[in-house]
């Protein structure tokens, strides 16, 4: 479903992604963790080409992203993306946030799009908030609307970039619950997060990044209980005590 082959990226002289090789299979849930600045956000932003890379090959759902001829809007329609800061459209209601892309990209009829959007909002437990604007919603509710928006195009892949990092602690659970449900339903997911509970519960694989390199990859139990590198062990002890 997603295949990185020797992908490298530089920001000026900074080597933010260093020879990344990674294969994500359909239905797989991959958690990506690592210290800040390790390149994990950049890595998942490459998957829907919010970031370009300079070297290597990347295939997503059969489409070659290293090829500039690839139709980006078609690619992105197959991928849902959830941001740390939600980035809901503030001038639209929750419902309109969800229907925007289907009506304009898929040319879905208004009534059909709204029915679909209500179903997605129900999935994230927000049926009653369809007509609310983002400013009237709590952080946790906003992020759940953002997930519903990400699901609106019936994507094959969902990407999450630190989806709970901007939330107050009491709201993290409601967002993670939605993500767990998605994972158990078989969605292919790449999640940048430090939520170890989530990783242990649903991740098939945990990837550890440091300094632009992918340095560990294994099952959650393996990774958290027996990290192979000192760097990962250090990192785990830090997020455990935190």
């Amino acid at each position: 479903m997603i295949q990185f082959k020797g992908v490298s990226k530089w920001f000026g002289k900074l080597h933010v992604l260093n020879d990344i090789n990674l294969h994500v299979t359909p239905g797989e849930v991959v958690v990506i963790c690592g210290p800040s600045g390790s390149g994990k956000s950049t890595l998942i932003r490459c998957i829907n080409r919010l970031e370009k890379f300079q070297k290597g090959e990347l295939f997503v759902d059969g489409m070659p992203l290293h090829d500039h001829a690839t139709n980006l809007t078609r690619l992105r329609a197959e991928i849902g993306f959830v941001f740390q800061q939600f980035h809901l459209y503030p001038h639209m209601t929750a419902l309109e946030n969800v229907t925007l892309a289907p009506t304009h990209v898929r040319k879905m009829k208004r009534a059909d799009a709204e029915a679909m959007a209500r179903e997605k909002l129900a999935r994230v437990g927000l049926s009653d908030k369809a007509d609310a604007h983002p400013s009237q919603l709590s952080g946790g509710q906003q992020q759940r609307v953002a997930i519903a928006r990400g699901l609106a195009m019936n994507p094959k892949i969902m990407l999450f970039d630190e989806p709970t990092s901007a939330l107050d602690p009491e709201m993290i659970g409601e967002v993670l619950d939605v993500m767990v449900k998605l994972a158990t339903e078989g969605m292919t997911m790449c999640v940048v997060t430090h939520e170890m509970g989530f990783a242990r519960q649903v991740a098939h694989r945990v990837i550890f990044m440091d300094d632009g390199r992918l340095i560990e990859s294994g099952s959650p139990a393996d990774f958290f209980d027996n990290p192979r590198t000192d760097r990962a062990a250090q990192f785990i002890s830090k997020i455990l005590t935190h």
Partner: protein
Amino acid sequence: MMLFYFQRLVEILPFFFKGLWMTVVVSGISLALGTILGFLLGIIRASGNRFIKPVIGVYVALIRGTPFVVQIFIVFFILPDWGIQLAAFPAAILALTILGTAFICEIVAGGIKSVHSGQWEAAASSGLNRYQQLRYVILPQSLQTILPPLVGQYVLLIKDSSVVSVIGVVELTRVGWLTVVRIPEGLMVFSLVGILYFAISYPLIRLSNNMEKRLATQQVML
């Protein structure tokens, strides 16, 4: 004597209204054109092609950095040397449009840049193309920032339209000049001119202020 002149002035009042109408027509047409072009250039300047952007930058800097009276002389007296001969009216429209476009372009570009880059990314991620991102996500949000200064700019441009009197367009200021030759009461004549400008500017100033207040309360709510 003053009373006599005042009566004369009242007699030729229709002449002033004609001048006022010409001011409204000249500024109205150039503001409409300037708004369309200003939005187009502003959008390109804020989000578009990196080869065109610097060209627009140079244009805006030149227009902002030179007096309007010089610009209108160039359009009216220097273009004919290159074979482009314009009557006073189209020359005035052209010069005012060039001026308005430059300022409006800056306001629009500023408004678009004030929208968080995450909004572009969210819209792009959901599969919208560049035009759709702008049309449905970015512009509606930037309009809140753009409108108050845009209307404020309209007021400035309406006042700048007085400069086109120098090439002989008989608008409000020109009417003042022509009148003061026959009614040598400068204060009286140009007070009237001022009052008439104020009558079109003031509603726009109020509108701009109200929009700014509304924007401020909206931002508090967010």
